[in-house]
Symmetry: C2
């Protein structure tokens, strides 16, 4: 299914390199909302996909594209496996690592958005079409809510959150000596020799420093994003389609646009390349590798899954689906420098290396207005703020926000009416910071006020 | 994907109403095997779907039909969710009901096939392309093996085993007063008024007594089975296909061939109708209903799943996928008259009603040569033998065989080279009986001989 709203879709990158458009849309969004709000678009309340069969106007299908339109996708993102083939990421057979609880009313925490508006945390979640939120403080669940089609045991599409898992796996393999970051990509995937990845190192790919000709301009029917989506099985193909039908067949077609290492070029396809590399380096399918190294060790409650292309290839750029509490467990593992559930799951130096961030000046070439001073490394977004916070991010507002100083992890799913974090960040980033401040303040004051 | 071997496919019903053909094929099978045997066709040994990408001749795809051909389907049946969309059947959050173990070497148990051949149980499993076997005796695992693509935590396509779950749910709803077996089908599904189900009762549908015009003659391009398969998304459609794209849209097109209640007419579509009915009667999706009533109560190890059509409708005729040990847990629940895992999961009278069997004379109209004296009720196959044994059966040799007298449950997955239990039964049924005898003998002798 296409990851697209029925409005003009603006990706983070396209938006930030077209600031005027972004500003006008952002203004339009607050002054004259184009879309039904979270409550109006709630798929449960609207009985989306309820009934045998559901009424035609409440049916979300892959084949006619209806499942990928707002507001239907607010159902779809919690049911991706019902629309596409998928591969299990097994939780293994071990016990669940129960997260202790010490719940408190964080919903009333006040914040000021980047646009200067005042609202509560609860209101921020609604404004950004949250499907669920889990906040951990010192490893305890202090806040957990589900909205719309979200549910505790229902995996949700992570989209680009996926990349942070792939970057973590790649970094672990580097640490194990199974992957050479300074080696050319084509050491592992010779098929990419004539592509944009022909003169790129593994490290450059892991840090999104590959300048491939890859347009996500949805208005252009020849944009590469369309063939990427068709190749991966995210959108239906027309009968006359003769293009690539696997990620691999598509990736080899990508052409060079500029020299590697010069600009921050956030392209989903580069994460797919790294996923290809880690599979070649290990001989393991991505789903199995993620299970072995992470999912089977964090005491996950549920098996997770990847959506897959026509030959079973997991999408390492956007195909991972998991529950919110399990995402939080992974975040807690990161916060604890790789330790969780009684084990060292990720080596501490690996976590430190990923979360130290990358080159700020190169990151600035991406033009992300909502992320000033940030950087990027191993598919993690690093704030470089005084809390040392870092994030995994998905295009509809999915987030794993780790704030080491506040000892806080926020796992959040969303299905925003508009694709692109510029529509989330002005509310969500101040909201996460406000919650962190509240947790730190109450800790200092000894005022834990458990409900 | 098409549930078909690349040989002429003979369904149980087609075969038994064309005995000559069956006999000649059966003879051919033993005297001059047409297909690679289990070892030769082992998908693991043959590296099917291994590599990034797998080599073209080792790739099993939905879109070109390669996944549905023998021997590729020996991989596919253990990976159906990677080929088709699917809906989870949740195991819930409760603890796993661990099955105690007291393993013994049942592999050397000797048996004589219906054709008079002598072989061991292990040989019988190989001859019938088993993907896995679990034997419970008095609730303990006494034998467990996996072959080919089978694995303990990997759900396998149950195909018509699915029907026994649907029949059990329907029977439970009858017992709860939520479903009236004497009511017409159209009380619940008025859309079927002009179809073959227009003058049929719920009970008749549950017992496969509906004589619909429904051909599974694969040599006939106009046979209804093709549109059933296209409607359910089991096979790719051609660009010019304009037929039904959901089970429901297909079911309403089925026409009457004869009066209900007169003959045993084993048609997958009738199970789809009953699945439709139970969803209408409860307002719950089949996957959720099965989870609530059974899967979340048996202490299952794994979530299970249904493959679904283009609007998320689970296939109640053949779409259920589960692990072998979880299937065994369900079998043990049945053997214990509905009690398992410390609860009464299915009311005892419901189990007794289903397993008492149906009308033997009507069953005989089906012409199942390998099932003399058997009968059928609520989508269960009942031997009517002196052990009171009964079965759920899938077309490639999937089986849940419950033998109350021997206090034995056999759960077995297979991916036989030829679709149709006439190719399994001559070996498998004597094999199950031989194991039952062995278990009873050793119990009587007090000779348990645990390994």
């Amino acid at each position: 299914m296409k990851l697209q709203s029925n409005a003009t879709r603006i990706t983070a990158r396209a938006v930030t390199s077209a600031t005027l458009l972004y500003c006008s849309l952002a203004a339009a969004q607050t002054s004259a909302p184009t879309f039904p709000d979270a409550k109006q678009s709630d798929p449960q309340a609207n009985a989306v996909m309820q009934g045998f069969p559901p009424p035609p106007d409440k049916t979300a299908r892959f084949s006619d594209g209806s499942a990928s339109k707002f507001p239907a996708y607010r159902w779809s993102f919690s049911h991706l496996r019902e629309l596409m083939p998928s591969a299990e990421v097994s939780r293994g057979e071990g016990p669940i690592a129960m997260l202790p609880r010490e719940e408190r009313d964080l919903g009333s925490v006040k914040l000021t958005t980047m646009d200067g508006a005042s609202m509560t945390f609860d209101e921020a979640l609604q404004k950004t079409y949250a499907d669920g939120i889990v906040v951990l403080h010192k490893g305890k669940i202090v806040y957990e809510r589900y909205f719309g089609a979200g549910a505790p045991l229902r995996p949700h599409a992570g989209f680009s959150l996926t990349k942070s898992f792939v970057g973590t796996l790649a970094s672990m393999l580097v640490s194990e000596g199974k992957l050479d970051p300074s080696a050319p990509v084509i050491k592992y995937v010779p098929e990419l020799k004539s592509s944009a990845y022909g003169d790129v190192t593994v490290r450059q790919a892991m840090d999104m420093l590959v300048n491939a000709k890859y347009s996500e301009n949805y208005a252009d029917p020849n944009a590469e994003i369309w063939n990427y989506s068709r190749a991966g099985g995210w959108i239906p193909t027309r009968p006359d389609y003769t293009g690539p039908r696997t990620y691999y067949d598509f990736l080899v077609t990508l052409q060079k646009q500029g020299e590697p290492g010069e600009i921050f070029a956030y392209n989903t396809v580069t994460a797919e390349v790294v996923a290809w590399i880690v599979q070649r380096a290990t001989g393991q399918r991505l789903a199995d590798l993620l299970s072995e190294k992470i999912w089977s060790k964090i005491g996950a409650e549920k098996d997770a899954y990847f959506v897959v292309d026509s030959i079973g290839t997991a999408s390492g750029g956007g195909g991972f689906n998991m529950t919110l509490r399990d995402l939080a467990r992974f975040g807690e593992t990161m916060r604890n420098k790789g330790q969780f559930n009684g084990q060292q799951i990720i080596p501490t130096p690996v976590v430190e290396d990923m979360t130290k961030g990358g080159d700020k000046q190169i990151f600035a070439t991406g033009g992300y207005k909502t992320l000033p001073g940030w950087s990027y490394r191993a598919f993690w977004w690093v704030t470089n703020n005084d809390h040392g916070a870092y994030m995994g991010r998905g295009i509809y507002g999915q987030a794993l926000y780790v704030d080491p100083k506040a000892e806080m992890v926020i796992a959040r799913f969303a299905s925003h009416a508009i694709a692109g974090n510029p529509y989330n960040d002005p509310i969500s980033l101040p909201a996460y910071a406000a919650v962190a401040d509240e947790l730190m303040r109450s800790t200092e004051a000894g005022d834990r006020n458990p409900k």
